[in-house]
């Protein structure tokens, strides 16, 4: 794939911030849901749905589509917004998040929206399922027709099942699989390295037989080149450690684990009072978008 032009990068950056804005509005409306992880993954999801992913929103179950499997189910709000922007369903439906009867539930429900590929929520189960997808493609001889992507979190590296799958993927040389770990260093109870240290994460996966890459999860150009390069690796599954800032784009949320599982309007009050959180969050995003536009215009 050719190197993306500057205007393409700028377009993706704008898109990511529109997506962040809709994400925050959606979370405020819902009054429940995770903030930090989804904001941190906004750039990666934007790149997937608007550049890298082989997909067709008008034909979501197209047999040759790339499979994007969300291991870390609680980050699904950002996927919903990216999908709505890509045309999978009307944007106004985003306001039904977590409400009774909605297709977009608190955690991904495959039965209500098959384009999500799987149902997930309990951590550490996605990589195993991604391995199953990859094995099926290989058995069918279609492993070169489409790629299996799995997005996981750093917290779920504490689950034993993740490491079972890591062994399995290496044994079966699932090079049609790329696993992306959102390395944002936080989990609900605190910083990962305090709760249950993960480092040296890169060396662990290398020792398990994986090809490991790293990227800045907020640099559009780097995200694109790393994802594309991961598809060309032979004989080994690929892990991409995506270094991200949880809550990216809203300063009072960034890097603070107290924001892991709550929406703006319900977060910690030590910096911004609850009633002001929603307003401030949207204001900050607008400022950020303004800054990006100014940088390029």
């Amino acid at each position: 794939m050719p190197t993306p032009s500057d205007s393409k990068i700028k377009e993706l950056e704008k898109k990511a911030n529109n997506i962040r804005e809709d994400l925050v509005k959606m979370l405020i409306e819902s009054g429940s849901g995770h903030s930090a992880g989804p904001l941190g993954q906004a750039d990666i999801f934007t790149v997937f749905y608007f550049h890298v992913l082989k997909h067709d929103p008008q034909n979501p179950m197209w047999p040759e589509r790339d499979r994007l499997i969300l291991d870390v189910g609680h980050c699904v709000p950002i996927r919903y917004v990216a999908m709505a922007h890509a045309g999978y369903f009307p944007k106004k439906e985003l306001m039904t998040l977590r409400k009774i009867g909605s297709r977009i539930e608190g955690h991904p429900n495959y039965l209500r929206m098959p384009a999500l590929e799987t149902t997930s929520g309990p951590l550490g189960e996605g990589l195993s399922q991604a391995c199953g997808f990859a094995m099926a493609a290989r058995m069918d001889g279609t492993d070169l027709d489409y790629h299996i992507w799995c997005i996981g979190s750093d917290g779920e590296q504490q689950e034993g099942m993740t490491w079972e799958a890591a062994m399995f993927a290496a044994k079966y040389r699932l090079s049609n699989l790329t696993y992306i770990i959102d390395r944002n260093n936080i989990q609900i109870d605190g910083y990962t390295e305090d709760i249950m240290p993960l480092e040296p994460l890169r060396e662990k996966y290398e020792a398990f037989g994986w090809h490991v890459m790293e990227m800045n999860g907020h640099d559009m150009r780097e995200i694109i080149s790393t994802l594309e390069e991961s598809k060309s690796i032979q004989e080994k599954p690929v892990l991409i450690i995506a270094n991200t800032t949880p809550g990216k784009g809203i300063e009072f949320i960034e890097n603070r684990f107290g924001w892991h599982g709550v929406p703006p309007g319900a977060g910690p009050e030590d910096v911004v009072p609850k009633e002001e959180q929603a307003k401030r969050a949207l204001e900050e995003l607008r400022t950020l978008r303004g800054r990006i536009e100014a940088e390029h215009d």
């Binding site: 929520g121 189960e125 399922q129 391995c131 199953g132 990859a134 094995m135 399995f168």
Partner: protein, 326 residues
């Protein structure tokens, strides 16, 4: 009454062949593999003893050895099922459905993935390995999962048919098999339909419901006591969904229901029948089985005797119930 084509002289224990259900299941899956190209078999380091090997030898490209990774085996099965494969995940009951229960709930039951879990080593019929391997809670934990079908075949031949019938069902299926050789009293010609209870012997005084090899004891007890009491014997091989009509009809006819199973009486097949009858047609009931304990190591025959799961112990429990419910 349906002709079940039971084995000739099946009531004569000496003339009855004894074979393990796990063998029937393993052979049935291998036979199915020849007919259905999307069948995939997964094993967790017990391909030999759980009989996944029969399939693996014939179809190595569709066999996945997961090693000692039951949780991962569940997740991989889910991924395969999402892609249109029909995975059969096979290992010992305690590890197959006990160890990874939550991954089964989330990745298989809830999204209704058509994955078939086939166990061996269910019940005390596991023998000397002891309680860690004698799975006596599997029916309880699988039948409470929405969307699951739960099947406990009565013998080798029925296990062979059940694994094939499961292919045509929708959603997830759990099939429970014992390790030990047990009497083969059905035949290749015996009919089998998942979800349909089999009234193997009609009676009017009491309904006796079993699953697994204990159905054979019930048939022998009914024959032995036929001059004193008329026992209706039901093989309830499909525990979920329950064949409500067959159970209620029988309860209406006899007015008393005895259940027996090599499984904890808490949450097992007897509980399922009690849940039904207590709400729709209450009759006196006795639930015989493993009485909420962990047993111990021992030969299967010694375990059956001590824990009253053999023919003698079952007859004793049934007669005691009869006397009390007169």
């Amino acid at each position: 009454m349906t002709n079940y084509n039971l084995a000739k002289n099946y009531l004569d224990e000496e003339k009855t062949e004894w074979k393990p259900m796990r063998d029937g299941a393993g052979i049935g899956i291998a036979e199915l593999g020849g007919e259905k190209e999307n069948v995939v078999v997964l094993a967790a380091d017990t391909a030999g003893s759980s009989r996944a090997k029969y399939f693996a030898e014939k179809f190595p490209a569709r066999f996945i050895q997961c090693g000692v990774q039951e949780q991962n085996m569940v997740g991989v099965s889910a991924g395969l099922a999402y892609q249109g494969k029909v995975p059969y995940a096979i290992t010992y009951a305690a590890f197959l459905v006990g160890r990874p229960w939550e991954p089964i709930r989330t990745t298989i039951a809830y999204p209704q993935n058509h994955v078939i879990f086939v166990s061996s080593h269910a019940g005390l019929a596991t023998g000397p390995d002891g309680p860690t391997h004698q799975m006596t809670e599997d029916i309880s934990i699988m039948r409470c999962l929405p969307n699951f079908t739960v099947i406990a075949p009565c013998d080798y031949e029925q296990a062979r048919k059940a694994v094939k019938a499961a292919y045509d069902l929708k959603g997830p299926v759990y099939i429970r098999n014992a390790r030990e050789k047990t009497p083969v009293f059905t035949t290749e010609d015996s009919p089998y339909e998942a979800g349909k209870a089999q009234v193997l012997r009609e009676g009017k005084d009491i309904t006796a419901i079993g699953h697994g090899y204990m159905v054979y004891w019930l048939l022998k007890i009914a024959e032995e006591l036929k001059d004193r009491i008329s026992i209706e014997v039901i093989n309830l091989h499909t525990i979920k969904p329950l064949d409500e009509q067959a159970i209620i009809e029988s309860a209406k006819k006899t007015g008393r229901v005895f259940t027996c199973e090599d499984h904890n009486v808490v949450g097992g097949m007897g509980s399922a029948v009690a849940e039904l009858l207590s709400q729709k047609y209450p009759v006196p009931m006795k639930l015989h089985g493993v009485y909420d304990i962990f047993a111990e190591s021992g030969s299967v025959k010694d375990l059956w005797k001590k824990y009253k799961l053999d023919e003698e112990g079952t007859k004793e429990a049934l007669l005691e119930f009869l006397n009390k419910s007169k």
